[in-house]
Symmetry: C2
Subunit: 335 residues, 2 copies
Amino acid sequence: MEYIKIAFDVMGSDKGLVPAIDAALRLISEKKDLKIILVGLQKDIKKELSKRKYNHEQIEIHNATEVIEMVDGIMDIRRKKDSSMVRSLEIVRDGIADGVTSGGATAPFIAGCIFILKRIEGIERPAFMPVMPTIIKDKVVLLLDAGANLECDADDILKFAIMASSYSKSVKGVESPKVALLNVGEEESKGLEFHKESYKVLKNNKNIEFIGNLEPRYMCSGIADIVVTDGYTGNIALKAIEGIGKNLLSEIKVALTKNLWRKLAALRLRKAFKEVSHKFDYRNHAGAIVLGVDKIAFKSHGSSDKVAFYASLKMTYDAIKNDVLNKVKAALENK
Amino acid sequence: MEYIKIAFDVMGSDKGLVPAIDAALRLISEKKDLKIILVGLQKDIKKELSKRKYNHEQIEIHNATEVIEMVDGIMDIRRKKDSSMVRSLEIVRDGIADGVTSGGATAPFIAGCIFILKRIEGIERPAFMPVMPTIIKDKVVLLLDAGANLECDADDILKFAIMASSYSKSVKGVESPKVALLNVGEEESKGLEFHKESYKVLKNNKNIEFIGNLEPRYMCSGIADIVVTDGYTGNIALKAIEGIGKNLLSEIKVALTKNLWRKLAALRLRKAFKEVSHKFDYRNHAGAIVLGVDKIAFKSHGSSDKVAFYASLKMTYDAIKNDVLNKVKAALENK
């Protein structure tokens, strides 16, 4: 059988390798054409696997003795040659696997993607693209660049729009993805020089559906399928949204569990709260692709649990299955 | 009796002058040493006032025949010489009132403050400073610049920190306000050149309590009393937070009113939801000061209702009463 193969860096995330392995076994039980190569300390991985039942055909182990820690920087990718992150990237580079997922530190992972997997021809700055929920049912918004390159130019922005449009079409099935430029105001004249140039370039391109500037307040409104920006702005907006979402939900929890009476009433609304938190739960969209490198590479949230790792692995699987890389390359050639 | 006098531009906000007048009458009933000069179409104001009971001693009307509309730009401040916004700023400039509140368009108001009220000596870029809630009870965070100047330098940032610290001490009673620099990461080396320079300048100043870089995810965590940044970044972060807060609360409302059963259970939790929404309700912090101009000038949210206008007027009153302008000037001289 011809398997889809994912190299899965199971070390270096906050919660350790147990949720990573649980997520991998769940996904292989659902996808019979998937093989996952668990990359990390063989001894530890074997120990965990021995406690579980699964189809041994679909799991491989690739030993790696080092770990890129959360505090490690970009340079540690060069230094820790036998780290699970470096090894999993090499496995993909060498064609042993079709894509990679890692729950390790973000900056070293992006650097590793560029060093080891190399950029797609014509791409100067690959982008980090998380998926965010919107208030429209089953609709998500892709944000890029969310932090790979603090500074970008209008040409980068156009390429982000083209790559993300191709991704949105092939993986999300959006026929004509709407692209917006993140800005402080809606009018064409708003923002920095960078925005005015990017606006012009986006408006003049016939292969994308550009809908104009978008203020961050409408990021999750479902107006746009894709929001393009430089990595600095994208990172600021992403972290602002993540933070306030968490704050609000925790405040609601505090208020609803203040006394027994409230707890009992809240219990009756459990399903309602689940609906909301499911929609806004980052874990269901935990994977962010590094778009613009010459392989499929997904970063799972550093604090990933089983649900988050499962979502990331599934996104990686979907991207490979839908041949996203070749579609993105074709789109770039026709721009 | 020596009154504190506020010039109140009651025109140009989304909801018209009725909530503005209601808010003014509420505040004068609470503050016996306050006189509010309502600036706008005399005929309309008189008509509304005639329907209400209030202490006539504490209300004046200043006629203005034009309105700066929400779609108007900076240049309309020069063009609409008899607008309520321009007239209320002039009243303050001429010493007839001690401070101004407006619910009109933000960009013209900030421009008007600079043109008409002039900058404090030594201040090149006055900042727009909204107040945001935090998850800590009764604690707020001041964000500046939130959009007056898209681009700022390290010297501006230091002055923002000094002015906001002085404001926080005198109005909010914070003994030693903690100042953080908004950035994509916490380490000193993170961010753009602008951040590295600003970090150095803030760290070396002995008159502020600088606690380092702060990621936007912790903006409302209560860690910092003051968050300084350039107007571009501040505007992006502010609008991202406003947007997702609104989205989340509206999603919760949808989920809780889906059927009668849920509605009944939610009714029992009304008080709990009120606690949360009160804390995060922007209307309770609707006023944003333009810090760095040579008078007290507050902008109320463009979609202000009675609650929001009341909060803005009260902030204006508090700032005048606490002699914020002179304290800010003294702090700048001693920096």
